[in-house]
Every structure is written in structure tokens, then in C-alpha cells.
């Protein structure tokens, strides 16, 4: 039986290790310094030519060994790099010994690989030709990149996680869902620790164009660092970005027994799906409202217990409006006074990784007593009355955070985190 349980009798789940990579750099130290000084990681794209593209900026991670090698390789290396930092901090040596929950993008065969296949000696046109090439020249690396389980399998080998790893996608909420799966597994008593990773290295030309065709991306290319402007009147879309975060989740019992430092508490997780539209949320905000309420209720808290909100804050016209509506409904008049900021103003939208990265930054916000700002807040949207911690970070005593993730396809998930166990 667990000694430390929450008010529902479940094991308390804490975080004992974190690792982060974003366009701002590798590791928590560099990221935190950049984040709290209001630095943007958004730059003109150099990875591929941007001729003919209406969006020519992104928050790519261009400084890892795999940065130019294709989405699968970079997505793996991002996850590995963040996990190494998290496991070192948690003092986890050797095999990790708990399950892996990986939020990762659905990655397809890279175009460079497609071109290479197609230009081999073969018969036929189009897919007939590709199949002919595959028959004559099977390619293990290209096959691996078609299998969604490849990255998690490799990470499981690398870190000695137990059992069959789970790879998941809930679009922009994926990183949050990975954490939620880990929290739930510990609460069920299946394990006393879990590794949750959100990773996304899929900023390819095709990904950019696909989001662009949905009119989801900012086209304010110049200057790049000003494009992501959540809650501003002239916001016009999100900025595609890459990154990763890893969190070592652990029962409080286990953490205390081995004398681990406790970085924060995963108090509650909530989710609710939207049934309105594939890219738009229900006009009354009810799914987002229900998600926030579910997270508070799972945390055994009411809305008065939240000190700071880490916004989904994508900088799309739709999201920021709906997020404001939903939060105002849940928190009422108090919403004007709760600080809320968007890390995406600086790092862009890291998609599958976003929920995990923002959870790590939320925990750091509490530990460091500093709230990272929403930068590029020069032209406030008058319809969104919020304390967005404009442009400069702020010292504050924050003991609890709500972190929001609202995804394309209607998948919404929120986390409530606390600085210390109750």
C-alpha cells in the first residue's frame, strides 16, 4: 500500500527529473535563461529552400547531429537528448526500470528517401515503380521510417524501459497525454516510475506546407522573432517548431525512499474531446471548459487554487480567443488577475512535444519563482483581457500551475501541477 496518497487514496505522483530541448538550446539551463530573458527561438528557415512558400520561418532545432537527416532521426535524437538530461537529474543509473510513454509525430518516408528510391533502376511509374524498387532493393532504414513504433523501440533499448512502450498522438495535446498515461499507470500501481517524453522533429517542407494549406501558420515572416504573438490583436497563426521534453514521473513513496529530489507534483490530469469540427473548437468553449474542470477535479482542487496558467496560447486567432473564453468561464472575474503566459511566443508550437515542454517549464516556473513572459505583446487584443505577463518575466511565488493543451482534431488535455506535495 502507498504511504503517501492524495485525497482520492491514489499514490501521489511527483517529478524527479526533467530534460528539455527547444530552438532556444539544449538543456534546462540554457532554455530557462533564454525563456526568462524573453528571447525568441524563431528564425528564417535554413533547413530547406522556402521559395514559393508563404511561411518562411520556424522554430527548428538546427544544432543537433540529426538536424539535417530527416524527421525520424531528429525526432529520435531530440527524445534521447531530453531523456538523458532527465534521467541524470533523477539519478537513474543503468536500466530505467519503468514504462515509456512517448508523444511523437506520425512520421512518413522522407522525401529525400522517396527521391532516392525513385531514381534507382526500376520498372514502372509512380507507386508501381517504388514497389519494384522495394522488391529489388529492400531498405531497412527506409522501412524503419515507415514504422510508427521504431522510435519508441529504439528509446526502450537505449534506456532500458520496461515492457512494450506506448507511442501516442493527441495532436497538440500529445505531450500532456504522455504525462497523463504515466501518472495513471503509477496511480494504478502498475509501476512506481515512468518516463514520459514529448518529441517533435518533423519541421519538413511538406509538414509546413500542409499546415499552411490549412491557414494555420503565421505569415508574418519579417522579423521572424516577432511572428508568434499570442493574445495580440494582429496574431495570424502559429509558428511551426521542434523540440522535446522528458519527465521522470515517480510515486512520492519511491522518490522519498531513494532520497530523490522532488521537482514538483503532478496533481491532476483532465481531458475532454470536442465533437464540433476537425480544426475549430465548439463556439461555446464547452470542451475546453470541461477539460480544465476535469483537471482541477482530478487534482482535488477548485479554481481558487491556481496561481498561474501556462497557456496553450498558440497565436492563432481561434485558439487564443477560445482559450480566453474558456478560462473566463471557469475562473470568472478572477481571470483578469491570474498571470497567464505563453511559452509559444518564444519557442513556437512544438506540436507533439508542446505539452511535455510546457509541463517542464511550468515546474521550473514554480521552482524558480519566475514567470516567463508572453513576448511580442505590443498590440493587445482588446477582446482578450488577460494578464499575459507581457514581454518581460516576472518574479512571483507560484505554488500551483494549470497547463493547457488543446489539439487539432478536438483532443484537449490539461495538467494541474504543484510545487510541493500537500
Amino acid at each position: 500500500m502507498s504511504k503517501h496518497t492524495d485525497k482520492f487514496g491514489r499514490p501521489v505522483v511527483v517529478v524527479t527529473g526533467m530534460g528539455v530541448v527547444t530552438s532556444l538550446g539544449v538543456g534546462k539551463k540554457d532554455n530557462w535563461a533564454a525563456l526568462t530573458s524573453g528571447t525568441s527561438g524563431i528564425t528564417p528557415i535554413s533547413r530547406f529552400p522556402t521559395d514559393l512558400l508563404s511561411t518562411r520561418i520556424a522554430g527548428t532545432v538546427d544544432f543537433l547531429k540529426s538536424s539535417g537527416k530527416g524527421a525520424m532521426y531528429l525526432t529520435y535524437e531530440l527524445a534521447e537528448t531530453a531523456a538523458l538530461e532527465a534521467l541524470a537529474e533523477a539519478g537513474a543509473n543503468g536500466d530505467f526500470g519503468g514504462p515509456l510513454f512517448l508523444a511523437a509525430p506520425p512520421v512518413e518516408i522522407d522525401w529525400h528517401q522517396r527521391f532516392a528510391l525513385y531514381n534507382r533502376k526500376a520498372e514502372g511509374v509512380g507507386y508501381d515503380r517504388l514497389l519494384d524498387v522495394a522488391r529489388k532493393h529492400p531498405s531497412r532504414p527506409v522501412y524503419d521510417s515507415t514504422q510508427f513504433a521504431t522510435i519508441a523501440d529504439q528509446l526502450a533499448d537505449r534506456f532500458g524501459t520496461t515492457g512494450m512502450p506506448i507511442t501516442l498522438s493527441t495532436a497538440c495535446a500529445s505531450g500532456t497525454t504522455a504525462i497523463q498515461l504515466g501518472v495513471e499507470a503509477i496511480r494504478r500501481g502498475e509501476c512506481d516510475k515512468a518516463l514520459a517524453i514529448g518529441t517533435d522533429g518533423s519541421a519538413t517542407a511538406e509538414a509546413l506546407i500542409r499546415f499552411s494549406l490549412l491557414s494555420a501558420l503565421s505569415t508574418q515572416n519579417d522579423p521572424a522573432q516577432k511572428a508568434s504573438k499570442p493574445f495580440s490583436r494582429d496574431r495570424d497563426g502559429f509558428v511551426l517548431a521542434e523540440g522535446s521534453a522528458a519527465l521522470v514521473l515517480e510515486s512520492l513513496d519511491n522518490a522519498l525512499a531513494r532520497g530523490a529530489e522532488i521537482l514538483g507534483v503532478m496533481r491532476g490530469c483532465g481531458e475532454k474531446a470536442d465533437d464540433f469540427h476537425r480544426t475549430r473548437s465548439k463556439p461555446d468553449g464547452s470542451p475546453a471548459i470541461a477539460t480544465v474542470q476535469a483537471a482541477l477535479s482530478d487534482a482535488g482542487m477548485d479554481e481558487s487554487g491556481i496561481d498561474y496558467i501556462n497557456a496553450h496560447g498558440t497565436s492563432t486567432p481561434e485558439n487564443d480567443k477560445m482559450e480566453h473564453l474558456s478560462l473566463s468561464t471557469v475562473f470568472g472575474e478572477r481571470m483578469r488577475d491570474i498571470p497567464i503566459s505563453s511559452n509559444k511566443s518564444m519557442i513556437g508550437h512544438t506540436l507533439s512535444a508542446a505539452g511535455a515542454i510546457e509541463a517542464a517549464f511550468s515546474l521550473m516556473t514554480m521552482r524558480e519563482g519566475v514567470i516567463p513572459p508572453t513576448i511580442n505583446y505590443d498590440n493587445p487584443d482588446p477582446a482578450i483581457e488577460l494578464d499575459v505577463v507581457p514581454n518581460e518575466s516576472r518574479s512571483a511565488d507560484v505554488s500551483s500551475v494549470l497547463s493547457n493543451s488543446f489539439g487539432f482534431g478536438g483532443q484537449n488535455a490539461c495538467l494541474v501541477m504543484a510545487r510541493e506535495p500537500e
Partner: protein, 394 residues
């Protein structure tokens, strides 16, 4: 028997054999058995194609149908069948509190656009500019959504109003195992009371065949049953289109609403045993023993893919356990990838409900004359990951 037993109350399945539990029971218990195959369209590969489907039976709005590629449509259709079967379709109170776990692959790429780009690449060296040029002008904007993995779940929420929660697992056969395993664990622990879980796979798209064939996984030449492809030309897999969704509930939830129960999922196990290891058959055997128990005589609904190594290992593990009588259902449906495990669990539940075993699916399999109160379902991934379930009389 406890209130938190996990019971199956709805089955929505589609394969080349037809749609729904009754059609599958008829097709699989009849004599002689007739696999439905197409060996011409994707020659030299054989596929088990989708049956004719009246999509509007489960997806009434044309607009919704247009927003999905076949794979998403198939999954959304199967989910509707499962909800109907459970008597929950259109029941707002049930659906808006129902959790969902979907195992998903990806969608179907636009073959024409890809072909245009690839053909042009034979004569142009500015391939990255070529990509920008063609992708920005030729891609249908909403195709992205019609292909995205998590949008199958998204469409189920939109069409069937299942909104309690929505999670999508990815990763071939293993994701189907994890989806069922997680669903069962959540219900048993009280984290969920009723849940929709499943997957769909549409193989009639060359991109999906290409993925397998890049590692030489597909069987070529004349069609053979799943256990009889060792030594034949190609890699042993014959792919099929199909889907399987299940409505799972705690016994208490099912009984409170007077639901008809097919069977109980007593145990689900999963593992990650290396293909290429000499003891793969022993690892699979240990997974089976750990799930079923060492001596329990049982019908074994095997999801063996046909892929040579994994299938030979599973066959060896089953053959060494004289108390198991296998039915390799890929012989009848083709391999359904993410949907393989949920489909196998559905077939197991059907046998229990009907208190009868399926006849042998090919001449290698023996008749089963024991009691059908415990059935094993397996899915050993063609390349990685494996799982098993013990399905019992509720």
C-alpha cells in the same frame, strides 16, 4: 466475478468477409470456408479487400464522409457498428462520458501528387524547389486532416459524439495491443466505466504495401494460408483491409443498463521480444503461459501475420503447447495491422458468446472439441511487439 470485471458489450467489425459479428460468425463457422482475395489489383501481392460498404449507414453526412480517407471512414464506420451493437448509439449520456482509445496508423497519401513529383524528379535536380512548387499547388488542403493519425478518433467524436476522452496510440500491431491493454486497466482500476477501443486498416493503397515491402515482408505468388507460407516466394504477409472496435464496460456499468454481454476480458499482456533472437518462440510461449495459464485447454485465436520469423516462432510456441488449438485468422481476413489484436479479441468473444469453436481455417489446424469458455487471442507483430488476451465467459 466482480463489479470491475471488464466485459465486452459491443463489437463492430469489418473485413473482406463482411460486416458485423453475425456475418463474421457465419462466414467463419460455415463449411467450406472461402477467403475473399484479390490477387490482380496489386500483383504480385494478394490482398483481402474491403466488402461493399454503405458508408451512410454509420456516417450519415456526406460532408463528414468527404473529410476522411477510406481508413478513417472505415474506423468511424466500425466504431458506429460497435456503439449500435452495444445499444449506445445516439445515447448522449453514455457517449459524452465514454472514453476512447484508438490505435491508428496513417492515412493514404495522394498517389497522383506523389507520382507527379517523383516523375519530375527524374529530370530535375532542384528537387526541393520542385516539392514546394507541387505541394503548395496540388495538395488538397483538407487531405492532411484526412490522413492524420489522431483524426480517426477526432472523426469518431464528431460523427458519433464520443467525447469523454480521446487518445490515439501509434505503432503497428503493438498499438492495438496497448490500446486494449490500457482500456482494460483503466476500467478495472475504476479510471473509466465504459470505453470504446479499436482500430482500422485499409491496405488497398500502394503506400501501405510499400511500407511492408521495403523490408521484403509481403508474400508473393499464389495465395496460401497463414501457416503455410514459409519457404514460399516473398516475406509471408498477406495484408487485408478491415477494422475492429469494441465497447468495453465494467460489469457494474453494463449490468446497470441491462446490456448484453459477449464475454469478459480477463487478462491482457504485452511484451517486447527481439525479432532475430534465437529464443523468440520461448518468449512468445512465456507470454502465452503468463496470460492463459500453463495448462488451460483453449482455442487460440492467433493474429499471426505470416511474416516468416515471427510466425514460425509463434507456431512453434503454440505447437509445443498441446492444450492450445490455433486458428490463424489472417488466413481468412488478411493481416489487419493495428486492428489485428482488437479483431482477434472480437473473434474470441464471438466464440464464447456462441459457445462454439471455429472450424479449422486450413488443413494444418485441428478441430477443437473442448468447452469454449476460455479463449486466447494473440497478436505477434510482424517486426516488433506482441500481446495476448485471455477472454472468458462472463
Amino acid at each position: 466475478m466482480t463489479e470491475k470485471d471488464v466485459v465486452i458489450t459491443g463489437i463492430g467489425i469489418v473485413s473482406s468477409l463482411g460486416e458485423g459479428p453475425e456475418a463474421h460468425w457465419r462466414a467463419l463457422s460455415g463449411h467450406p470456408l472461402h477467403p475473399v482475395i484479390d490477387s490482380e489489383r496489386f500483383k504480385p501481392y494478394t490482398v483481402h479487400p474491403l466488402p461493399p460498404i454503405e458508408w451512410s449507414q454509420q456516417i450519415p453526412k456526406r460532408g463528414d464522409q468527404r473529410q476522411m480517407e477510406v481508413w478513417q471512414r472505415l474506423g468511424t464506420y466500425c466504431a458506429g457498428l460497435a456503439l449500435d451493437d452495444a445499444g449506445m448509439k445516439g445515447d448522449e449520456a453514455q457517449c459524452t462520458t465514454m472514453d476512447m482509445v484508438v490505435a491508428a496508423g496513417g492515412g493514404e497519401r495522394d498517389q497522383e501528387v506523389d507520382t507527379t513529383i517523383l516523375e519530375a524528379s527524374l529530370t530535375r535536380n532542384d528537387r526541393e524547389i520542385l516539392l514546394n512548387e507541387k505541394l503548395t499547388t496540388e495538395l488538397r488542403p483538407t487531405l492532411f486532416l484526412a490522413q492524420l493519425s489522431n483524426l480517426l478518433a477526432g472523426n469518431i467524436s464528431i460523427v458519433h459524439k464520443v467525447t469523454g476522452s480521446s487518445r490515439t496510440f501509434m505503432g503497428e500491431e503493438g498499438s492495438g495491443v496497448s490500446a486494449v491493454e490500457t482500456a482494460v486497466a483503466r476500467i478495472r482500476s475504476g479510471q473509466s466505466s465504459h470505453l470504446l477501443v479499436g482500430a482500422a486498416f485499409q491496405t488497398e493503397h500502394p503506400d501501405h504495401l510499400l511500407a511492408y515491402e521495403l523490408a521484403g515482408k509481403l508474400h508473393r505468388g499464389s495465395w496460401k494460408p497463414v501457416w503455410s507460407r514459409q519457404g514460399a516466394e516473398g516475406g509471408g504477409m498477406v495484408s487485408g483491409s478491415g477494422g475492429a472496435f469494441l465497447v468495453l464496460e465494467s460489469r457494474a456499468h453494463a449490468e446497470a443498463r441491462g446490456a448484453t454481454i459477449y464475454a469478459m476480458i480477463d487478462k491482457v499482456s504485452s511484451a517486447r521480444s527481439r525479432r532475430g533472437a534465437e529464443d523468440l518462440d520461448q518468449k512468445i510461449g512465456a507470454l502465452i503461459d503468463g496470460t492463459l495459464g500453463r495448462d488451460t485447454a483453449a482455442l487460440a485465436i492467433s493474429g499471426a501475420s505470416g511474416a516468416h520469423e515471427a510466425t514460425a516462432a509463434e507456431k512453434a510456441a503454440i505447437d509445443r503447447r498441446g492444450h492450445l488449438t490455433p486458428r490463424g485468422f489472417a488466413t481468412m481476413t488478411g493481416h489487419l495491422k493495428e486492428a489485428q489484436f482488437p479483431f482477434g479479441v472480437a473473434l474470441a468473444a464471438l466464440a464464447i458468446k456462441n459457445e462454439a469453436a471455429y472450424p479449422p481455417f486450413d488443413s494444418d489446424e485441428k478441430p477443437f472439441d473442448g468447452h469454449v469458455d476460455t479463449v486466447l487471442a494473440t497478436a505477434v507483430g510482424h517486426e516488433r511487439f506482441e500481446g495476448a488476451a485471455r477472454v472468458t465467459k462472463a
